[in-house]
């Protein structure tokens, strides 16, 4: 996507004058073209045929590593300096460049194809009064286009008219913000009039929530705002057609303007590697300097006298200077170019494993897991904090009507003959609703007795469902006769109304004044007198209706505690029984509501209505007055019963959370939901537990109170802890430029949890309190933040990132999670749902929350393990390789003479050791996935950076120092002054080179074998294959034929034959190998015995019991708590006003509230999560 930005940037930069104001006239192409606005063609591709090579090369050489190798190549072309022939660098460099080029090329081809497909979509354009089909790319600014149902919006359009009443259109903004909900847009009330309109508006920008402009029509000027703009990226739904005027086209559209820059995420290993590579360069320079000084001294003491045989016209300092650069060339193998390539390949391979994993494939909607970023794998093995969204992530966002208690009798439980509860599953027989032709086929219920009671005509049960059918703010939609579709503000309401529908009380339609219900097949219309709306304080909602018979009834549903306070004393017996049922329901984690009704005296009603009207129109204290009125009438209610709705958790959520917390990963839930809902879910997925010492609730209204609550909580958790946080300041990053502050973990005397709401969070996230928040929160096992805005989600993530220096992962499914997904080190999107934006900005996506444990505990852990093994081994191998040259410097007059054959240097990383180390880092596993799940503790070394750190790196360097000493000095001593068994030479340079390089290769191969824990056939094949290839290659290269064809390139002719038939050569190899390897074996063996890691223990255990024990069945314990009420309702304030105002169809909803703003307007809050983020990172969804 960065490409897109640069493309846009290029185009913008190309414009001489920046657009100040956009001016266009409808259907006047000539005029509009004169402004040279961008047309509707888009281009996301980077290259064309001619620019590909130069542009791509230019980009590639911007990478530091590539530039460095180019620099080396330049050095090598200077004959005085060149210690290695050009091909040693060119061959790998060309290979790397061409591989990257091929990848970039194929990516760009895809973009081209994608662009082409989008640009060639057809749309109907109004040309000279007639509709013509045109390609998207030919649509110009100022054109009037006609869209039909389910079509993508072509460009940013000014809505002119639509087929729907009141000129509404329904759009789905899924591609823009992940929101599926259909929202209505408002066109002009005036009849559509082409040709004369003139529009002046703001220049193209990326603000999705704002549009300003004016339309001049027949001399009159209308102001235009956001509600009249259809954005590209939306889809038209439930609207037969609409006309729109193209305002912004192609690259100017808000969607494209929003495709902001890609924020490259780098893993901590990446950052560590950068630091290491830099220090390696420093080290390299020091080595070269030592050797150069050595050369200076040698030239001064020996070389100048040796000049009889080797005349040189140079003085010692200059020679030292040249030698310095020669050694830079030779010793560059400490950071070979293949390191970067291999790292990329390993990450790519491990990403493919994620894509291929059948255990992360969700068959229900045919969604496999997807690694959308291929550069972050190993960080999956280091996660310390998970930030999870709730709705759609932990829960399915499906509410099911599970149980109810009506008039003291509980329904919904399935009992067998002996009266035992029957565990329900997919196979349990469902209630047959075929008698009700309006029933929702997707609804399922298992208790047949309730249906029987309803059909028998039990008045209480009927009243119960009548209440559910009447008391709500759901809007029905009936596109076809009998096919009802409810648009509920919250899924809870939808579930309740749907339940009533299936039990024969079908909510059919509503007007501002009436509600039509089909009651057991009979059409009944109730007059709607008042809606006493739901809000957070009231925790209840009521409706007052008049039945056709003229009976006035108030129906009320709400939190049990609230309803019980308002009951008629005659209900006390029923209340007791119902309370028992409610507790039972709540104990199962169900959300409960109590239902009650009351008949109202018509005269009283008249009076009340009058006062209601007065209060409703009062200028001041309207809310209070209304509340008092509601309070007055909602009294003396008669209890009907209670409902229990299950906010369905996704499968395996509690188990996953348990596993992850065993792996010492902390999970914070950040949700936009209300506190009750969030807590409820916290309990049902085992994050909050009854046995916890305390669950702190932070919900204060001022900064001071918040601080106090946080401090109190903290002191309770560590009574003897320090007041001041322990902050460790350090520096990190390249050149230690970044200052980091780390707040240390503090000991806690028990299990605690914290629930904090958005309001308090806003205070707590202030600069002066954030550390306080962090300290307290990090001591808790579980942190739940409710009612948080997307921005706060990101802030929380940033806070942890900043002060914990830990790896964070954010998982979510909706547009409101995008900010946190982008903020966290790793973002995971739940895919498969309709909204795409979270997935589009995520790094990994899969369909179910439970796959997270596999992603982290298996794939992440393995990736981390493999990457660390790879790096350790790779650095070992190359340092050993390089150090040998260093030692040889002392025996060749520091003349930058290589120890090894130049071809060996070229091929060592590229051929001889490439595949074995790749197979190690693609196939290795310490224990298999099953054991990884059995022992989630295996995950902890990753969090502590144990497998690869600066310390590990230093060990690696010391190890290679030792190996290189062995590998140089053993052959040196073994060959010193000796000869072949026929008296001929064997200590000549070429034979020595062959011996040294063979020793090296064998030693590093054995070391690789030691590091391999999981020997697949591939490992064996590659390791033995590489060794055989080595011998095949040397015998070929040192053959007569090669010498005769390319005399100067293969001067080592005959070396292999003459030296590999010598027993002392082989004995030397054996000795070096054993000396290199046995100390490592002994050390590892003793370490496993004396200081075994969790890894060693599990591996030992795996060895002990080869047969896998059966997975212990985890039965989720039923909580029988009576402490809490299960009351929860996922929306804050109802649509009541809209429903009764009669304006609900004509209302102008603020469908695009200001970015992250916390408005107190009820409308803004009632909008389903509907935030948009400014910067989008991923490819815009250009193709369907």
């Amino acid at each position: 996507m960065g490409s897109l930005l640069s493309q846009l940037g290029l185009e913008c930069g190309g414009k001489a004058v920046k657009e100040e104001e956009r001016h266009l006239r409808a259907n006047d192409r000539e005029l509009n073209l004169s402004y040279k606005y961008a047309d509707n063609a888009i281009k996301t591709s980077k290259y064309n045929i001619f620019t590909f090579l130069p542009l791509n090369l230019f980009e590639q050489f911007q990478r530091l590593a590539n530039a460095y190798f180019l620099f080396l190549l330049c050095l090598q072309s200077i004959p005085e300096v060149s210690s290695l022939p050009w091909y040693t660098t060119v061959v790998p460099l060309v290979l790397v460049l061409s591989m990257t080029m091929a990848k970039d090329g194929s990516d760009d081809m895809n973009r081209h194809r994608c662009d082409k497909q989008v640009n060639n979509r057809q749309v109907e354009v109004l040309v000279e009064g007639e509709l013509q089909s045109e390609k998207w790319m030919d649509v110009q600014v100022g054109d009037i286009v006609k869209l039909e149902n389910n079509q993508f919006v072509t460009a940013d359009l000014l809505l002119l008219s639509s087929s729907e009443p009141l000129n509404l259109v329904y759009i789905e903004t899924a591609e823009l913000d992940g929101c599926v909900s259909v929202c209505c847009m408002h066109a002009f009330p005036e009849p559509f009039c082409p040709c004369v309109g003139e529009v002046r508006c703001e220049p193209p920008n990326n603000r999705l929530d704002k549009f300003t402009g004016t339309l001049t029509l027949k001399g009159e000027t209308y102001s235009l705002d956001n509600e009249r703009i259809l954005l590209r990226g939306c889809t038209l739904r439930n609207t037969q057609w609409c006309f729109g005027l193209v305002v912004f086209g192609g690259p100017d559209t808000k969607l494209m303007q929003n495709c902001g820059r890609t924020t490259f995420k780098r893993t901590s290993i990446d950052r560590l590697m950068n630091v290491l590579v830099l220090s390696i360069f420093g080290f390299l320079m020091i080595m070269c300097l030592i050797l150069a000084i050595g050369n200076g001294i040698w030239e001064y003491q020996e070389g100048s006298k040796f000049a009889a045989f080797l005349p040189k016209g140079v003085n010692a300092p200059f020679s030292a200077f040249l030698t310095f650069w020669s050694y830079v060339i030779i010793l560059n193998t400490v950071v070979p170019i293949s390191l970067y390539v291999s790292v990329e390949i390993i990450r790519l391979g491990n990403s493919f494993y994620i894509n291929w994993d059948r255990k992360m494939y969700y068959p229900k909607n045919d969604t496999p897991a997807e690694a959308r970023t291929t550069t972050l794998n190993e960080e999956l093995g280091q996660i310390k904090y998970i930030f999870s969204d709730k709705t759609g992530t932990l829960t399915q966002n499906i509410m099911t009507f599970n149980k109810c208690s009506i008039n003291g009798k509980s329904y919904g439980e399935l009992l067998d003959f002996s009266g035992q509860r029957v565990e329900m599953n997919e196979k349990t027989e469902k209630v047959d609703f075929s008698w009700n032709n309006l029933a929702d086929p997707k609804f399922c219920f298992h208790d047949n007795s309730l249906v029987e009671v309803v059909r028998e005509g039990n008045p209480e049960v009927q009243a119960f469902f009548r209440l559910l059918a009447l008391c709500h703010t759901v809007m029905p939609e009936e596109k076809k006769e009998g096919e009802l579709y409810y648009q509920a503000q919250s899924p809870d309401e939808g579930a309740l109304v749907t339940a009533a529908r299936n039990f024969g009380f079908v909510f059919r339609s509503r007007t501002p004044e009436s509600i039509t219900v089909v009651e057991m097949g009979e059409l009944v219309t109730y007059e709607l007198l008042a809606v006493l709306d739901f809000n957070n304080v009231r925790k209840r909602m009521s409706v007052i209706v008049r039945s056709p018979e003229g009976k006035l009834t108030l129906y009320c549903k709400g939190a049990d505690t609230i309803i019980f306070e308002r009951l008629n004393p005659s209900c006390s017996n029923l209340t007791e029984v119902t309370t028992l049922h409610l507790n039972e329901f709540a104990g199962e984690g169900l959300r409960t509501l109590a239902l009650a009704y009351k008949d109202i005296d018509p005269e009283y009603m008249e009076d009340w209505k009058l006062r209601h009207h007065v209060a409703n129109t009062a200028m001041d204290e309207r809310e209070e007055k209304l509340d008092a009125l509601y309070e007055e009438i909602e009294k003396g209610l008669l209890l009907l019963g209670s409902t229990a709705v299950e906010d369905k958790l996704q499968d395996g959520v509690p188990q996953t959370i348990e596993q992850l917390s065993k792996a010492d990963i902390k999970i914070w839930v950040l949700t936009g939901d209300k506190q009750e809902t969030a807590e409820n879910i916290g309990y049902s997925c085992n994050m909050l537990r009854e046995e916890m010492n305390e669950v702190f609730i932070v919900s204060a209204n001022t900064a001071e109170e918040v601080r106090k609550e946080l401090q109190t909580a903290r002191r309770k958790m560590t009574p003897d802890g320090t007041e001041e946080p322990t902050v460790k300041k350090s520096r990190s990053g390249l050149f230690c430029l970044q200052k980091t502050e780390t707040v240390a973990d503090e000991p806690v005397n028990g299990e605690y949890a914290m629930v904090i709401n958005g309001h308090s969070l806003a205070f707590a996230l202030e600069k002066d309190m954030e550390i306080e928040l962090l300290r307290t929160a990090c001591m808790c096992q579980t942190v739940i933040c409710c009612r948080v805005t997307p921005l706060q989600k990101a802030q929380v993530v940033e806070l942890v990132k900043k002060y914990k220096q830990a790896v964070t992962l954010a998982i979510g499914d909706g547009a409101n999670d995008v900010s946190m997904i982008k903020a966290a080190h790793i973002g995971v999107g739940i895919s498969g749902q309709e909204g795409m934006q979270a997935v589009l900005s995520s790094d990994y996506s899969f369909a179910q929350f439970r796959y997270l444990q596999r992603l982290l505990l298996v794939h992440g852990r393995w990736s981390y393990l493999r990457m660390c093994k790879f790096l350790r081994y790779f650095f070992y191998k190359n340092f050993t390789f390089t150090f040998v040259h260093f030692w040889y410097g002392f025996f060749c007059g520091f003349s930058a003479q290589t120890v090894f054959d130049e071809w060996f240097i070229t091929l060592f990383n590229l051929v001889y050791t490439a595949l074995p180390v790749l197979s190690l880092s693609l196939f290795d596993q310490d224990v298999n996935d099953w054991w990884s799940f059995q022992y989630p503790q295996l995950y902890t070394p990753g969090q502590l950076n144990q497998y690869f750190s600066k310390r590990a790196f230093v060990y690696t360097v010391l190890h290679s120092g030792y190996s290189s000493l062995v590998l140089f000095f053993i052959p040196w001593a073994a060959m010193y002054d000796t000869v072949r068994d026929d008296g001929k030479e064997i200590v000549d340079y070429q034979s020595f080179a062959l011996l040294a390089q063979t020793c090296l290769l064998i030693a590093v191969s054995i070391q690789l074998g030691l590091d391999t824990h999981y020997w697949t056939a591939m490992n064996q094949f590659f390791l033995w294959g590489s060794l055989s290839v080595y011998f095949a290659v040397i015998f070929t290269m040192y053959s007569n034929g090669m010498f005769l064809t390319l005399t100067s390139s293969f001067p080592f002719i005959g070396t292999a034959r003459n030296s590999l038939n010598q027993p002392n050569v082989w004995l030397t190899m054996l000795l070096t190998s054993v000396l290199c390897v046995l100390p490592v074996v002994a050390y590892r063996f003793l370490r496993i015995l004396l200081w075994p890691t969790i890894n060693d223990k599990v591996r030992y255990k795996v060895r002990q019991d080869k047969v896998l024990p059966p997975t212990p069945r985890r039965v989720q314990a039923r909580r029988t708590s009576t402490r809490r009420s299960g009351y929860a309702f996922s929306h804050a304030q109802g649509y009541g006003d809209l429903v009764t105002s009669g304006k609900f169809l004509r209302r102008t909803p603020k469908s695009r509230p200001a970015l992250f703003s916390q408005t107190d307007s009820p409308l803004a809050q009632t909008q389903p999560q509907f935030y948009r983020t400014i910067s989008e990172r991923e490819e815009p969804p250009l193709s369907p």
Partner: protein
């Protein structure tokens, strides 16, 4: 079943490879392997070490420095580089039979044949008999590419130019008379060097190929006259030249000069007094170099090298000791059964 009805086009393949279930051997460093392994390796190494050590002990080596640093040395008189055509004598006696076949080496110390520019200073094409490079040697040979008159030097380069040019004659003193010990100078270079790598131009007589070229400045004779006694031992395939051109890896090295395999000496040098006559031409004192001659016989493991045998013995014993240590540690800290 429901499942089959579902669309499963995106379902990943169920192969051992994609599911990371490839069958694998998972070795562990368990006590049952490591400790016996160390013992076995240790014992094997001790065995090899003993063999090597004994073999090495049985090899006789006689080294004599003849640089002429010490004033007592006969060669002291020749150590002045301005002294041309100096010969000196080196006398030694053998108390026992020096078992044959005896190889006669010359050795140089502190001599950096391994220097990069020194080693690179030659022309592979010229040495493989390519006449084009007789006229224009590669620039790597510089400053021994052309002489002062811009005539190409053949063979060019420092390496060829600095060819060792001391010559030796060994006499056994039998009853006061000098008896020449015959030297065999054939086949002292690698077969590949002699037959493949270095070739004379196919011009007869060889001399003509060198028309228009000059000999290296340090050489007293041109390449085609290196061995006047054997015409086939001239040019680039002269054995001494080949031996010299195979440059040494280390600054102290010895090169094979002759073999003593003929006549009375086929079974070795009998006990007695010997006199080595040295034509002292090669200056090494200027850079602190040393020259020596070495008589040695060889075994299956090549020349005398104590190091390898001792190293095997030491490593072998260390292995055995280490296995003891590991055994003790293992007995004390058995792997914890529980976790």
């Amino acid at each position: 079943m429901m499942k089959e009805e579902l669309e499963t086009t995106n379902r990943p393949d169920n192969t051992a490879f994609t599911q990371q279930r490839l069958p694998a051997w998972q070795p562990m460093l368990s006590a049952g392997i490591v400790i016996p392994g160390f013992v076995l390796i240790g014992l094997a190494f001790i065995g090899i070490g003993v063999g090597l050590f004994i073999t090495s002990q049985n090899i006789t080596v006689l080294e004599k420095d003849y640089t002429g640093v010490e004033t007592t040395s006969d060669c002291y008189k020749c150590s002045n580089p301005s002294d041309k055509n100096c010969t000196c004598k080196l006398e030694f006696s053998l108390s026992n039979l020096f078992e044959g076949p005896v190889f006669f080496y010359y050795g140089l110390s502190n001599y950096f044949q391994s220097q990069r520019s020194y080693g690179a200073s030659k022309d592979e094409y010229q040495l493989s008999g390519d006449l084009d490079y007789f006229k224009t040697p590669v620039s790597a040979c510089s400053p021994y590419q052309y002489d002062a008159n811009q005539k190409p030097i053949v063979p060019c380069g420092s390496l060829a130019n600095s060819m060792f040019n001391d010559t030796f004659k060994l006499y056994q003193i039998v009853n006061g008379t000098k008896k020449l010990v015959p030297f065999d100078g054939k086949g002292i270079a690698w077969w590949t060097d002699y037959n493949i790598k270095y070739r004379n131009p196919s011009v007869t007589p060889l001399k003509n190929a060198f028309n228009g070229t000059v000999k290296p400045s340090f050489w007293s004779k041109p390449a085609y006259e290196l061995d006047t006694s054997d015409p086939s031992n001239n040019g680039f395939v002269n054995q001494d030249f080949l031996v010299w051109m195979r440059r040494a890896a280390l600054p102290d090295f010895r090169k094979l000069y002759r073999r003593i395999t003929e006549g009375d000496y086929a079974s070795g040098l009998p006990a007695g007094n010997y006199s080595l006559e040295i034509a002292y031409n090669y200056p090494v004192l200027s850079f602190g170099g040393r020259k020596k001659v070495v008589f040695s016989n060889v075994s299956w493991m090549g020349g005398k090298n104590q190091f390898l045998g001792i190293a095997y013995l030491v490593v072998g014993s260390l292995c055995v000791v280490m296995s003891m240590v590991m055994l003790i540690v293992y007995a004390k800290f058995k792997f914890p059964e529980d976790d």
